[in-house]
């Protein structure tokens, strides 16, 4: 599609721009409305550009979101990503390069469970967490999500399968044990899949809603999506401009993260095809 008549080319570029703007339009609506005054946001007809930019909406939205939700979301996202990464990298490596009893059975278990959505185990997991007295604790919030490692194990196993044995053998002949081989040789070569997996996991964890909804009841344990969901309810008293600002603020960190790491996202998501 690269060559063609100039007019066709111009039409193509215009179409790319048009549909791009259309996809981004809801974000535009969110941004302009989060800076309007309470009167302007409720006035008919709606304005397509704020008459005045009310920066004080930021403060009001932050009060609404409350610092606990922000802190909880940061803790939740970092903990889930880090723990899951450690588990999937090590398991993936072991399944690819180590020889031990039950290896194939273990791999089969991970692959099969990839196809089981979390929602299917939601009820038993809730009962389990409740019996452990983990409701309204970070343990209950984090551990069941960390345990969803099937996909990551599969991805990293595929990555390490393609790593040449010669690299590892050379070190092992020099007397290095598996721990040293892993830390000194394998990890430094694992940058790209780790970056891709981190990008996708951070996104998933930051936006997770159902499990936090079920595993927490107290306001002090809320994560951002729970705080945000309250804005959507019929009974919400929050003015729309503050609600839009809250949505914007809760999404902004991940938008910046996405723009900075876009390459890794695309590798992480598109990479499922290659192998």
């Amino acid at each position: 599609m690269s060559v063609g008549h100039p007019w066709r080319r111009r039409f193509h570029v215009s179409a790319v721009i048009f549909f791009g703007l259309l996809m981004a339009a809801p974000f535009y609506w969110m941004i302009i409305n989060s800076f309007k005054s309470s009167q302007e946001v409720a006035a008919y007809p709606p304005t397509w550009w704020p008459r005045e930019w009310h920066l004080d909406n930021i403060g009001a939205a932050l009060v609404f979101l409350d610092s606990a939700a922000i802190v909880n979301s940061v803790i939740f996202t970092i903990a889930v990503t880090l723990c899951q990464l450690i588990l999937v990298v090590m398991t993936g490596f072991a399944l690819a390069k180590m020889q031990f009893l039950g290896k194939n059975l273990l791999f089969a278990m991970f692959v099969i469970t990839i196809f089981v959505p979390f929602q299917v185990v939601l009820i038993p997991t809730f009962i389990l967490v409740r019996n452990l007295n983990w409701i309204d604790t970070f343990w209950g919030l984090i551990i069941p999500v960390v345990a969803q490692t099937s996909f990551g194990v599969f991805i990293f196993r595929q990555f390490y399968i393609s790593m040449p044995n010669e690299i590892l053998d050379a070190a092992k002949i020099d007397g290095a044990n598996w721990g040293q081989v892993f830390m000194q040789i394998v990890l430094p070569l694992s940058g790209p899949p780790i970056a891709a997996y981190t990008a996708v996991t951070v996104l998933t964890a930051w936006n997770m809603y159902v499990w936090p909804l079920i595993s927490t009841t107290e306001k002090s344990m809320r994560v951002l999506p729970l705080a945000i969901a309250g804005l959507g309810s019929q009974t919400s008293q929050t003015p729309p401009n503050i609600a839009m600002m809250a949505v914007l603020l809760s999404t902004l960190p991940i938008i910046i993260f996405f723009i900075l790491c876009q390459r890794y996202f695309i590798n992480g998501l598109g990479g499922a095809l290659k192998e």
Binding site: V16, P26, F27, F100, F115, G179, F265
Partner: protein
């Protein structure tokens, strides 16, 4: 070259150190709950009294439950309204943006942006966009002299309105997967076709489409599964299943049964049935070989 390390078994110490923690967590929080989910579906339990074994009665009850049957219909409707446009649009948009020009990356980012916003945040945002008075859709329609319905309060329009949001949220992943596939098509193939005088349509039909067919099946399955299981957030926040249960899809009904009505056994039976149906559909469309995304990234 010696390949010693492949021939023998490694010391169980290292294997356990690498695999053990994951294996324990995975067994407790994934494998056992999968088994428990099925076991629970054979019981009647409200979390407070003693669980009572009822055999397959929870399953037979589904057939007499009008609300369950309604939510099956709504789920099928949402799948049709959601999966088909997602696959078709992500194909065309990926073909469209598989190009480059100065400033291109800014516009490509716009196509991918919906992947970053949480389902919940976008539900709050779209509720406002669908506002019948001050929303942009109503305003644009009125410019053409059309008075739109109150989208989310209208039993006819609520589900299609939700499906627009869901498609918007799901397009980026489809576009990314299609782009990855498009970039693997041999450019010489395209050049040869052009030399032979093939126009854009002929290239689309005879080169691009056959080459991305396997990805299409993958995208189909990811979205089928995603829409059935992951639409809870959007529906719950935007309509709560209403008006008059017109958007009460199965996953929301299951949630309601389990965590509002505390009919845990019955809810487990429903989710077992749902899972079996989705698994069968997934096997039909995409025989296992490679793997869709875990619980989907979005």
């Amino acid at each position: 070259m010696r390949r010693k390390s492949n021939a023998r078994t490694d010391s169980p110490f290292w294997a356990f150190l690498f695999v053990g923690p994951n294996l324990i967590l995975f067994t407790v929080f994934i494998v056992l709950p999968i088994i428990a989910a099925f076991a629970l579906s054979l019981y009647d339990w409200n979390l407070i009294s003693e669980p009572r074994f009822v055999g397959i009665r929870n399953y037979t009850d589904i057939l007499n439950d009008a609300r369950a049957l309604n939510s099956v219909v709504k789920t099928v409707y949402l799948v049709v309204l959601g999966v088909v446009p997602t696959v078709v649009l992500s194909f065309f948009l990926a073909v469209l943006i598989n190009t480059t020009f100065p400033g291109y990356s800014v516009f490509r980012t716009m196509y991918l942006l919906p992947i970053v916003i949480s389902f919940v945040a976008s539900a709050v945002l779209w509720r406002f966009i669908y506002d019948p008075r001050v929303g942009p859709i109503a305003e644009l329609l009125s410019a053409f002299g059309v008075t739109g319905p109150n989208w989310l309060k209208d039993t006819t329009w609520a589900l299609p309105a939700l499906s627009v949001v869901i498609v918007w949220l799901r397009l980026p992943l489809g576009i990314i997967l299609y782009l990855a596939a498009l970039q693997q098509i041999n450019p010489q193939l395209m050049e040869a076709a052009e030399i032979d005088g093939a126009g854009p349509w002929a290239k689309l039909r005879h080169i691009i489409w056959p080459n991305v067919m396997p990805v299409t099946l993958l995208i189909l399955v990811i979205n089928l599964r995603g829409i059935i299981f992951d639409s809870f957030d959007v529906v719950q926040v935007m309509t709560g299943g209403g008006p008059l249960n017109s958007t009460d899809i199965l996953i929301r009904y299951i949630y309601d049964m389990a965590f509002a009505q505390l009919r845990l056994g019955y809810a487990s039976a429903l989710s077992t049935v749902l899972f079996v149906i989705v698994a069968i559909l997934a096997l039909i469309f995409n025989p296992p070989r490679r793997k869709p995304i875990n619980g989907d990234p979005v």
